[in-house]
Subunit: 369 residues, 2 copies
């Protein structure tokens, strides 16, 4: 059982990673949330049926009773209405109990349940049990909680850290191949912005990653979580600009996701394309060599993440983005690369360079490419 610490003074917390770590949940809660006697587990129907009996059992052995609340398994669950319904539910039974929230699922469950924990009685403890690769290496660590408004995603939320993260890699066996690849896109991101050795490891071991071999996945989740934990430790609330590099590939990735109405590309696929665009921009600005660029493009190919944008046009992508003005405007800000493993934040990239890099990825660009 690997153990990483997110260092945030009195808001510090551990991340436990490994195969079967969920069996230790009861003991971990006893240690990290002493005195709390009731778990409010937020999860979806699939996870509930498949895993909740085991989760509830380990809690019960530690003297903790559990109440399960099912939410829809889609981004639609991240609404103020559903958050409100959870809050009323907790208020109805929690009067004389010491309740904590368990976010048991992927990013949607974590964002929603974390937000509810942040505002109920001005903050009650919560723990993250991420069940997707994406959530294990990214959203479960760092305390960014949120729900969506119809005007945009994640517009309502809080920075609110969990007390404990338990990443059991056995849960990943429930994922589809497409979900695994989507998670690997975020892992490649950590290699690109911060860890040349992780990148090389992925080049050599991508097959073991894709087929969820325990040793490879344990290493990958551990290393990615450690990088995320380190960056968050130094910039909890995104105030110092250090957390910015975590957005590598995300500005354009979000635009691609939105342009496809969140159906054409999933998050990992869209940010893979976004990272390739930024790698192209970095190449165009001579920040990285052609050799490094080709290694990057190659790794995405090996993992069978998309390297071309299908069925979208340039204008779809630019106009879909919530912050389209920032995207190609005078004061944009992009995370670029100065080499594999070294990120660089650069402002005021000329619109022409960005557009050219996006066009290069389009399977049917206006130039007929």
């Amino acid at each position: 059982m690997k153990h990483i610490k997110v260092n945030l003074g009195k808001h510090s917390y551990p991340v436990f990673i490994g195969s079967g770590v969920i069996q230790s949940l009861g003991g971990l809660v006893e240690k990290y949330l002493p005195g709390y006697d009731t778990a409010y587990i937020v999860t979806n129907a699939y996870l509930h049926k498949k895993y909740c009996p085991a989760v509830i059992n380990t809690l019960r052995r530690a003297g903790i009773c559990a109440k399960v609340r099912l939410i829809p398994d889609s981004e639609k669950a991240k609404s103020l209405a559903i958050a409100g319904s959870l809050l009323e539910d907790i208020a109805s039974f929690s009067r004389s109990r010491r309740v904590f929230i368990v976010a048991f699922g992927g990013g949607v469950v974590g964002d929603l349940a974390g937000f509810v924990a942040s505002v109920f009685r001005r903050g009650i403890p919560y723990i993250q049990i991420p069940t997707t690769l994406l959530a294990q290496v990214d959203s479960s660590i760092g305390g960014k909680t949120a729900v969506d408004l119809k005007q945009g995603k994640n517009l309502v939320g809080a920075f609110y850290q969990p007390k404990l993260v338990v990443s059991d890699i056995d849960f990943l066996k429930s994922l589809t191949a497409r979900q695994v690849k989507s998670g690997l896109a975020e892992v490649i991101k950590y290699g690109l912005i911060k860890d040349r050795r992780l990148f090389s490891y992925l080049e050599r071991n991508f097959r073991a990653g894709l087929s969820l071999k325990a040793k490879a996945v344990g290493f990958i989740v551990g290393r990615a979580s450690a990088i995320k934990a380190e960056i968050v430790s130094r910039d909890e609330r995104e105030e110092k600009g250090l957390r910015t590099i975590l957005n590598f590939g995300h500005t354009i990735g979000h635009a691609i996701e939105a342009a496809g109405k969140y159906g054409l590309y999933n998050h990992g696929e869209a940010i893979a394309l976004g990272m390739l665009v930024c790698a192209d921009i970095s190449l165009g600005l001579k920040l990285i060599t052609r050799k490094d660029f080709l290694r990057i493009e190659n790794l995405f190919r090996k993992v069978s993440l998309p390297t071309k944008i299908k069925n979208l046009r340039l204008n779809d992508i630019i106009s879909a983005h919530y912050h389209d003005k920032k995207f190609v405007g005078a004061k944009n800000r992009f995370v670029l690369l100065e080499g594999i493993g070294i990120a660089k934040v650069q402002e005021n990239i000329p619109a022409g360079i960005i557009i050219k890099a996006v066009q290069k990825r389009l399977l049917l660009s206006r130039a007929g490419r």
Copy 2:
């Protein structure tokens, strides 16, 4: 223009107090929120009509444009539904703007608007412009924001500090005599828990306070704000127990408020009765002298705050309280007095002592008193 500072490290902020300080609002915003260009003013219809043109003018002179949002003038406005509607409203127009929120009104407006500010985009700045005595001396300082659930008041919220508080005592002229007395109850509380000299001042100058003489009100609001600021500075998130003394009279006060269904007694009247009950308990435990007790009871009489509980019975009060179990249970916790100006937190007060002290205040107790 008095100037008090709430010392909370990088979350520190000033409180400006005086007659006509609202005229300086534009300049204060320029200084304390540099770069913000749009004010989202949350207020009610009465204040909007009477004062908003002046407020908007001072902002405009500083180059800040304003959007006004009216909310109902009652506790009902503190709902998740209204908070959600404000959030969508701000999201609709704020894309390319640097927006801050202005809570312009009493405690309801401050609690609601502060909560909205705390969660929009994980926190945008807000300023408090309290217009009631209660809000000026209490709720506008300290960053407790909240909305209600049907299960209870203030169940959803955040600790989220404003960037600036502007307490213009001229606004108090709009208050009814009953509202002024309600605010004075909180001021008496500060005297009782922390400042014997403030208490003596009120004994001598209560008439000037009641008739809102500028000199007396300026002194009272300044002194009360300074005490609140000092306590908050030492215990921002109510974690060290220091903020607990601010609840003097509130446990029983809230029970009386709730038993009267928030219509029989307003907040100040209810906590005045709660403070008298706690003074009685303190006398019963020989923590204060009978002379001090009589001075306390006398001051409430002078200000014409209630000293007897009318139209409620003991069981109404005990069962109405959300935390009734804590109220008379084994592990209750009360703020008592060890003298005028000295608070003491004491646990496990025998139920009989509490009940006797409440009964003494009942105009029609079961004993026929």
